[in-house]
Symmetry: C2
């Protein structure tokens, strides 16, 4: 393979889509599966997902949520029990019709989402107020046959996600849960992936099929398109009634329960690639990086080699004691320059270079991946790298926030809306609340209401489309 | 619900099968899904699986194995590429024929196992010796439509498992890997689940379809039936040739690689239930117990209640500081007796009882679940509970080993074989190596060769069936 083939050959600025695909494949996060629209995760990609999973699990657990397992097959009859919900998913469902040589009776759907299956069980498990709240999360995959063009992590016919399903005795408690989860989502995405998000509600048109309302977190990508980063739904009693999720209260009176469901998917990894990556490849936030620090020893003779390698091992051990995920690249058949490119492509946050002259000076060179700055660090301050990693994490969020702010503009006039949307970005504009206006805007501009940010219930303006009194100032954008 | 309905009503000795099912359902480990042959895991059941996963992940990682993700859908054409392998799985495959309203071209199999999919990718990822060894593990589910009677954890049409797939430059290295994995399996099952296993090779008849040979670990259950606890296969070049998993060696000569695959499933949880459970319900080994210690406060008046609860909270905090998974059962509407039964059913290893008299004596009562012994422990020795848990873990393995030894007998005569097999158990008997004898024995007695233990290549005896010279002294048993 030539050097060209190994590195990224497309520019993020000029051909974003090609750049993205190259980063995914060449940084070895994922690859295409033999079935169109499906991908596999290679260890570096899956490791990021595991890191997110562990963080979410910790936070879910503190909030009294435990994990469970649901099978992937759902009978057609069950899926059809909540009509709107079924109609929404039906066109995307994969159907199992045969097992071995035999035709199955009721066709079996591959889980597009598990509300119907989970609530059939919840209805058995819940008898009285003592069984509430019931809060279970499931780490699995969802399957939705994509007809649109697919893209690794962003749009695939099977995707890794978590789906949480909770049941409560009161509406108030369920609505609080919806918000607690959204807060966990926001916090995790900002702190772990260094991506700022805007939280709020979806419009009626954009809400989850079957929900009373959907809360969402949205981010704007560097190409100006919006990405839905996760949703948390208040289901009210929309499912508890058809699925008979009932409980006897303290007075032994039967009530239908109040429910929530919520999920994030590996889309978050797609967002991370888009927001932070550059023309050298992937740029990983330290908290989720499989390798946080790579040590590249530099030597020109066999004589100096031993000394350099020994010192590198010393540094490696010291960093391991600090629980830093460190790798020593001692491949002898490759040049330092090749290694620099390789680890930059893979997005490792810090590279340590060490050669004979550094040993003389009792210091190493530190190269930060995200801004490509180099500095010198004395041996006796090696432990400070922990702090350097924290600083990188913060700086990356700060930079991403600035980018996002730059991509967010206020619009009052519809012709301005139509012109500005060509460049992408988050467009804040007043809206009257009518689905008609929302649809017309979509027709004209391909922009949806992505999110009505909390606190944006602003009645002081005029709808950007029809000029009637506003009920809200949502964020419009073209989406992924 | 009456007390009868809550507790276990079947006896382990008299109706093992019914007893098992009751423990699974009533201890709330799992429940039936709406599709026949499928189960769901409730949080207590899934937590045990997570605990096993974390232990395996640590050991895999130390052995240079990383995790990845593969989609569940495999095209029929791909699955058919290794003929024997395909023929073995074909009758059990679930087939997707439609997505939405559209028929799919090449039918899609739900993964019965992922060799064919993984090796199609490995063939792309591996170019030279530098890319080897490649060792990836996948935590997912496998789907095999069961025609036999299904049983939670033991035989289900979808099951949680891990499947590892490694590629090596030499036969020797691949065969070493097979053994390393088997050792990790054995070690984990014995240390975490307190179940003794016997390791060795499967006979040609019983090996994995597509393997050169299969190594296995087997255990004998209290009902006298054998359970396969995990397998590690040497695939040789059986897959690398049809899937073109090739590498250029240091002299730039192309070679077909050497491969292994291996897996354990949630069957291990089924084994744990069978081996340790009793007529009061589940008995959990401390290492995998979601709750290791439950504290039940005992009081008769509101006056003593506060004092008891405060002391209980004190103990809870102290145990939490020791990283013990502890739960304080402060449900005020239930009697201590009800709570004792409840936690015994759920198998919590240690119950701490604390009442006003215990506080006077500055001690608590400790009740061990596995042998139901009670003893007193002074407040200032509460931290020793960590050691008590370790002791329970060791004792449980010891007890299980004694049970297993009792269920293992040497047989030299075929009529004795036919009579003894009626009581179940592991039967050690000489075998000539001919598949004909193996098949005749199976026909007569329903017993298979479960395992040819390592070191059992004994040529000094006569085949229990045909009386010709033995090549091995395998273990025969009726299996799950």
């Amino acid at each position: 393979m030539s050097k060209e083939d190994i590195g990224i050959t497309a520019s993020k600025e000029d051909d974003f889509s090609e750049w993205y695909t190259q980063v995914v494949l060449k940084a070895q996060l994922a690859d295409y599966a033999p079935v169109k629209g499906l991908i596999v995760l290679r260890p570096d990609g899956y490791s990021i997902w595991e890191s997110l999973r562990d963080t979410f699990d910790q936070k879910f657990s503190k909030n009294g949520i435990r994990n469970g397992f649901l099978p992937v097959l759902i009978p057609e009859s069950l899926l059809g029990k909540e009509k709107k919900h079924f109609a929404g998913f039906n066109p995307e469902v994969f159907w199992v019709t045969h097992s071995g040589e035999n035709q199955v009776g009721d066709r079996l759907a591959l889980r597009p989402t598990s509300e119907t299956l989970a609530y059939t069980l919840y209805s058995k498990w819940i008898q009285s107020w003592r069984d509430l709240p019931l809060k279970i999360n499931f780490w699995n995959t969802a399957l939705r046959a994509e007809i649109k063009a697919t893209k690794p992590f962003l749009r695939t016919s099977e995707f890794l996600w978590q789906e949480g399903h909770t049941v409560h005795a009161t509406q108030e408690e369920a609505e609080e849960e919806v918000m607690k989860i959204l807060e966990i989502y926001k916090n995790t995405v900002e702190m772990e992936l260094a991506i700022p998000v805007i939280t709020g509600k979806k419009s009626e048109k954009e809400k989850f099929v079957g929900a009373v309302y959907t809360t969402t977190m949205e981010s704007i990508m560097p190409d100006g398109k919006a990405l839905q980063m996760g949703t948390s739904h208040f289901l009210g009693q929309n499912f508890s009634i058809p699925f008979e999720v009932k409980f006897a209260d303290k007075d032994n009176v039967e009530n239908f329960a109040w429910q929530t469901s919520w999920g994030v998917s590996w889309r978050l990894i797609g967002a991370m690639i888009m927001v932070h990556g550059d023309n050298k490849g992937l740029v990983l936030p330290p908290k989720v990086a499989p390798i946080q620090v790579v040590i590249v020893p530099i030597y020109r003779s066999e004589e100096t080699k031993e000394q350099v390698i020994l010192q590198a091992i010393e540094i490696q051990k010291e960093l391991e004691l600090e629980n830093i995920r460190v790798h020593l690249d001692d491949r002898s058949e490759l040049t330092p320059g090749y290694k620099f490119n390789d680890w930059e492509l893979k997005g490792v946050p810090i590279r340590i270079e060490i050669g004979p002259r550094d040993i003389e000076k009792q210091s190493v060179i530190i190269a930060k991946r995200y801004n490509r700055e180099k500095s010198s660090l004395p041996f006796n301050e090696i432990k400070n790298i922990y702090g350097v990693l924290d600083g990188i994490q913060e700086d990356m969020l700060e930079t991403a926030r600035e980018q996002s702010d730059k991509n967010t503009i206020e619009i009052s006039d519809y012709s301005e809306f139509k012109s500005k949307i060509q460049n992408g970005g988050f467009l804040k504009a007043y809206w009257c609340g009518k689905q008609e206006c929302e649809e017309k805007i979509k027709e004209d501009t391909s922009a949806d209401i992505r999110v009505m940010p909390f606190g944006s219930e602003d009645t002081s303006g005029k709808c950007v489309y029809c000029k009637e009194q506003s009920i809200s100032k949502p964020i419009f954008a073209r989406g992924y």
